[in-house]
Amino acid sequence: MIAVRQAISEALAVIRSGYAQSPEIGLILGSGLGSLADELKPLHGIAYSSIPHFPKSTVAGHKGMLCLGKLQGADVVAMQGRFHYYEGYSMQEITFPVRVMRELGVKTLIITNACGGINPDLYPGALMLIKDHLNLMGGNPLIGPNDDSIGPRFPDMSAAYDQDLIKLAETIAVESGIELKSGVHSAVSGPYYCSRAELRMIRTMGADTVGMSTIPETIVAVHCGMRVLGISCVTDMAIPEQLHGISHEEVVSVAEKTRPKFEKLVRGIVGRLG
């Protein structure tokens, strides 16, 4: 077994062999939201399968490509497709790309996802800024030995989502005429969609949305000192009293319809950060 630090170096060496810039902005693009990465100019794409220690995504709608290039004048690195805990990978493994992005130079990470809306103020197609989260996944990526050169043993999570980035996103949204909600995002392991009783519980606990990603990546990003902005794209309502069965295809289809305003928002944020 090799140390994670060495694995990061090996992954970095492969990325660096074809790309010299040090992007300070990272993007993780969720289900149906991946196409923003195609706008990078000049686009330098590396398939996850050719990066050492990267798992490969097995989910439809997730492409599995690390994309590097300029967006709105800023150097960015974007994950087109991500890894999920329900795929059977460990929490450490699904968040490995975040650690690699940090070594690549990323200081600000924009994490996005498709999720279910619990708060009735939300609607399919709504965008929600994540103000805080509830980890109901059954684990977290920091369990295990801690490498103090990467981050502290006991990281503070009282402001996991950066206040200044939230304000910036809200400003951009107003300027662009995009309605932006904000709230608490919860994540479960999946892959099954929650039962009604589970949704009632999650609502009681204080969540506005529920998904199957984002939180492990946020935890690792905070641990290694990045500023995080979280954006949830509500693809279906998960209100226990009004539940109808949903399919992954529906989730991807709503995410794709929401994509134009999502992309406009992210472009605006990246432009202002760059």
Binding site: T58, Y86, Q92, S189, Y192, A197, E198
Partner: protein
């Protein structure tokens, strides 16, 4: 070399087929048998099966073998109320250290044996203050409070879909049928939400209060993994909890496993009539 442990593999179609073949050879061919899983203290129900044949789990590859008292660990096939049934006498639990996907394996094997309807039973502690020891609760829904589940890992699409709908695990028609049977036989039933706890510790009084706030009516250490696996592979499922005790802190006194296993004869008679009555109507 990788710093990570290999990704979880889930059981695939060929593992399931192989084990199903071994069970079929031992029990003989059955036509769409009804599956029944017997919970703690209910093992003697297997004695009701006519013309029964059995196979110990230890003879079936891929099967978890439970070491818990009150769970003997075999498949029993035969006839009940004029129907083919296949009964799990004893089950494996998450708290024994079995991976969730292994707890799901016997359910997938039953599906391969033609089981389309599955009756799950368990002993549970009451959270709902209107329940009493000895009550039977029809499970309307569940809360997975272990935050683990048997569908994590690579998915075999020939068994079930990647993202199954967890809001339709317990079949409403089966529950309605159970209520009708209970009414006809003069058996009182409750309905409620079963909260799955990993165990093996019994809950604290604070945890029982939390479970109530979060919407549970009963708590237990089984059934959820099997019900989820059954939904995933397309079975109609129902669950019956028999309230073996009130949750911690509701009444004075300690909880012990002996109390859970000790079932009054009248309670046993009710469950037996209910199960046989449901099977007869299917």
């Amino acid at each position: 070399m990788s710093p990570f442990t290999p990704a979880l593999k889930n059981s695939n179609e060929s593992d399931v087929s192989r084990s199903a073949e071994i069970v079929r050879n031992a029990l003989g061919s059955q036509v769409e048998p009804i599956g029944i899983v017997l919970g703690s203290g209910l093992g003697t129900f297997a004695g009701e099966i006519q013309g029964s044949k059995s196979i110990p789990y230890s003879d079936i590859p891929g099967f978890p073998v439970s070491g818990v008292k009150g769970h003997s660990g075999k498949f029993v096939g035969g006839r009940l109320a004029g129907k083919d049934v296949i009964v799990m006498q004893g089950r494996a639990h998450f708290y024994e250290g079995f991976p969730m996907r292994q707890i799901a394996f016997p359910i997938r094997t039953m599906r391969k044996l033609g089981v389309k309807k599955l009756l799950l039973t368990n002993a549970a502690g009451a959270v709902n203050l209107n329940f009493s020891k000895g009550d039977l609760m029809l499970i309307t829904d569940h809360i997975n409070f272990s935050f683990h589940n048997p569908l994590i890992g690579e998915n075999d699409d020939t068994i079930g879909v990647r993202f199954p709908d967890g809001s339709r695990v317990y079949d409403q028609k089966l529950n309605e049928l159970a209520e009708k049977v209970a009414q006809k036989s003069g058996i009182k039933t409750q309905k409620g939400v079963y909260m799955f706890m990993p165990g093996p510790v019994y809950e604290t009084p604070a945890e029982i209060r939390m479970a109530r706030v979060l919407g549970a009516d009963a708590v237990g250490m089984s059934t959820f993994p099997e019900a989820l696996a059954a939904m995933h592979c397309g079975m109609q499922t129902m669950g019956i909890s028999y309230i073996s005790n009130m949750g911690a802190g509701i009444n004075p006194g300690k909880l012990d496993h002996e109390e859970v296993l000790r079932m009054d004869e009248s309670v046993y008679d009710s469950i037996r009539s209910l199960l046989a009555g449901i099977v007869a109507e299917l």
